[in-house]
């Protein structure tokens, strides 16, 4: 109930700000689209000047779509984790964080609701952007509603735990903005370069990929949207039977538990230090 109330407040706030600053919202989308399209077309149209490696990677529409999708999943991860890092810092500077700390729903519920709303709005704008870019570059996306919805929810939960952990660090140590940006960039790169082939590079690499947040989610999203649920060898494997799904569920459980526990501990520590809500 608490969560729903806070979420309602967040949705209303977000919609009002999006409506009031509509030009900024549209410009943001146009710039995102333009940036991606320039990047992709740049790679596709200058094949002769690029190295063979680049040609292999971006020379065909599927590879380009793969890159775009990775890019957008990366943006999604960047945004969700950023809500806990730079977003939390911004709220501390503006004084809104103090009021959230004073809300009887608790800081965890507030951030849960904030990040859910941020995820939903990002999903809408990202979907639109993926579709537009894919159409432009001539790639194909395979749409499977239930699988996609499940994966998006799991991707969000996967990022949530990691976001809470980062947010906890910000609550206590405050000025860790540069480190947070580096970590977010790492997640961004992970989303772009995560692919099924990595899991076949030995157990150490496979363990690392499964342990990191977003990697399994990105692999599965690409498996559904680009590869139409087919493995590298061409065999059809529904996403529900994909081995990465088990690891994604495990990753969600571990990161969420770890993240929220860490956040609560850090919140308590911050209260003891007397710096909760301040920057």
């Amino acid at each position: 109930m608490s969560f729903l109330l806070v979420m309602k407040a967040e949705i209303v706030r977000t919609l009002i700000i999006m409506r009031r600053y509509w030009l900024r919202t549209i410009m943001g989308m146009i710039m995102g689209y333009g940036m991606l399209i320039v990047l992709i077309l740049g790679f596709m149209l200058s094949q002769e000047e690029l190295t063979n490696t680049m040609n292999d990677r971006f020379g065909d529409p599927e590879a380009a779509t793969n890159f775009v999708l990775g890019f957008i999943i990366g943006m999604f991860a960047f945004g969700i984790v950023g809500m806990f890092t730079q977003g939390l810092q911004g709220m501390a500077v503006s004084g809104v964080l103090e009021q959230l700390c004073l809300s009887p729903h608790g800081l965890v519920t507030n951030f849960l609701a904030r990040s859910t709303v941020a995820a939903i709005t990002t999903c809408f704008s990202s979907s639109l952007m993926v579709w537009m870019v894919t159409m432009t570059v001539g790639g194909t996306l395979f749409f499977n509603g239930p699988a996609l919805a499940m994966l998006l929810i799991l991707t969000f939960i996967n990022l949530l735990g990691f976001g809470f952990m980062m947010g906890g660090l910000i609550l206590v140590f405050k000025q860790v903005g540069q480190v947070a940006i580096l970590i977010r960039m790492g997640l961004f790169a992970l989303a772009i370069f995560a692919k099924e082939e990595l899991l076949e590079q030995g157990w150490a690499m496979a363990t690392l990929v499964h342990a990191l947040p977003i990697a399994d989610a990105a692999i599965l999203l690409k498996h559904v949207l680009i590869k139409n649920q087919r493995l590298v060898d061409g065999n059809y494997v529904p996403v529900y039977q994909h081995p990465s799904l088990f690891f994604l569920l495990l990753s969600c459980a571990v990161w969420t538990t770890l993240g929220i526990t860490c956040f609560k501990m850090m919140e308590n520590w911050s209260r003891a230090k007397g710096t909760l809500g301040t920057y």
Binding site: A9, V12, G95, P104, R271, G274
Partner: protein
């Protein structure tokens, strides 16, 4: 005035020490540099006081005295090292979320609101955060904006409001959950005279009409004197006085006497008189005066008063008049805090 009397807030043996850590610290006095320095600052030491229902309690103190830390401990933003804070019988540490339903807090008020939203939208947002919903929220938002005088600005984005209007909105935000207690940290700082007065009047009205208890920290002695039923003076983390405002002023005005003389008094000689605490001189249009602070205990004060008159007589001073000085909160505050500053 209030629906029911009795203690609403209780702070008991409250202690808080902060650890300050500095890297590459340079001592301003010696110029010595240290790679790392750890320093303990006792922000609050053994604070005890209570606030009754419907009471306005003022917490006064110089900068860094521990006022904001006390307010933050009351609202659960800072965890005390020792002692207990309770609101309506609930321990803030154990029942923080329940306590937050009973408490409204204004800390640096102009920063509380979300600037791209209007006052009405801010109240809707914070109302939801504080469990207020539906028609109650809408009705309460309108009533609060009407009460505080922001009804005509309810659809104007907060970033276009003046500092005083933002402060008023912050009070509305704190009140949207209909709390029993309102904690106001420096509510009039940086405001012009009219805005400060308007906010002060609204606080009084709210306490008298709706029976809310208010804890207000302020540097403005005039606001505190006019606003507060009871005042606590905090200095270096310790509560040095806690009395009803009139009693606090009365206690000190009994002690201070102004002797109008024909010439400058000999301060050193007067300070030797038993029962005299301090002697200062002031030059008025009617001539020089000796302002003498006597022992607070009535019998000792009486003896000291006669002894001073005798000393002045021996020194061949012409005593033109004696008057008790009417104290204001500022002089009381200075007397209580100067010795330790």
């Amino acid at each position: 005035m209030t629906e029911s009397s009795g203690t609403l807030i209780e702070l008991s043996r409250l202690n808080k020490t902060f650890t300050l850590r500095n890297f590459f610290y340079k001592d301003e006095e010696t110029g010595k540099r240290q790679f790392y320095r750890k320093r303990l600052v006792k922000a609050v030491q053994n604070i005890n006081f209570t606030i009754d229902r419907g009471e306005i309690f003022g917490l006064l103190g110089p900068n860094g005295a521990g006022k904001t830390t006390t307010v933050k401990m009351l609202s659960g933003l800072v965890k005390p090292d020792e002692g207990m804070v309770s609101v309506d019988g609930l321990d803030v540490e154990r029942h923080r979320q329940k306590v937050l339903r009973k408490v409204g807090v204004v800390l640096e008020g102009t920063r509380t609101s979300i600037w791209p939203l209007t006052p009405m939208e801010n109240l809707a947002y914070y109302g939801n955060l504080k469990n207020v919903k539906g028609s109650v929220l809408s009705e309460r938002s309108n009533r609060l904006l009407d009460f505080i005088g922001l009804q005509d600005k309810k659809h104007v984005e907060v970033r276009h409001l003046s500092r005083g209007q933002k402060q008023k909105l912050a009070i509305c935000i704190a009140l949207i959950g209909d709390p029993q207690v309102l904690l106001l940290d420096e509510p009039t700082t940086g405001l012009d005279v009219q805005s400060a007065r308007a906010i002060k009047d609204k606080i009084i009205e709210m306490t008298r009409e709706y029976g809310k208890s208010v804890l207000v920290t302020t540097h403005d002695m005039h606001v505190a004197q006019e606003l507060c039923d009871r005042i606590g003076i905090i200095d270096k983390g310790q509560l040095v006085a806690c009395k009803p405002t009139q009693e606090l002023l009365g206690n000190f005005s009994d002690q201070v006497y102004v002797f109008q003389l024909d010439r400058e008094p000999d301060i050193a000689a007067l300070e030797q008189v038993p029962g005299v605490l301090t002697v200062t001189t002031e030059l008025t249009s009617e001539g020089p005066t000796a302002v003498i602070n006597l022992e607070p205990e009535p019998a000792a004060r009486s003896r000291a008063l006669y002894a001073v008159m005798e000393a002045l007589s021996k020194g061949n001073y012409e005593l033109r008049s004696i008057a008790q000085r009417q104290q204001n909160l500022e002089s009381v505050f200075l007397q209580l805090t100067t010795s330790t500053m």
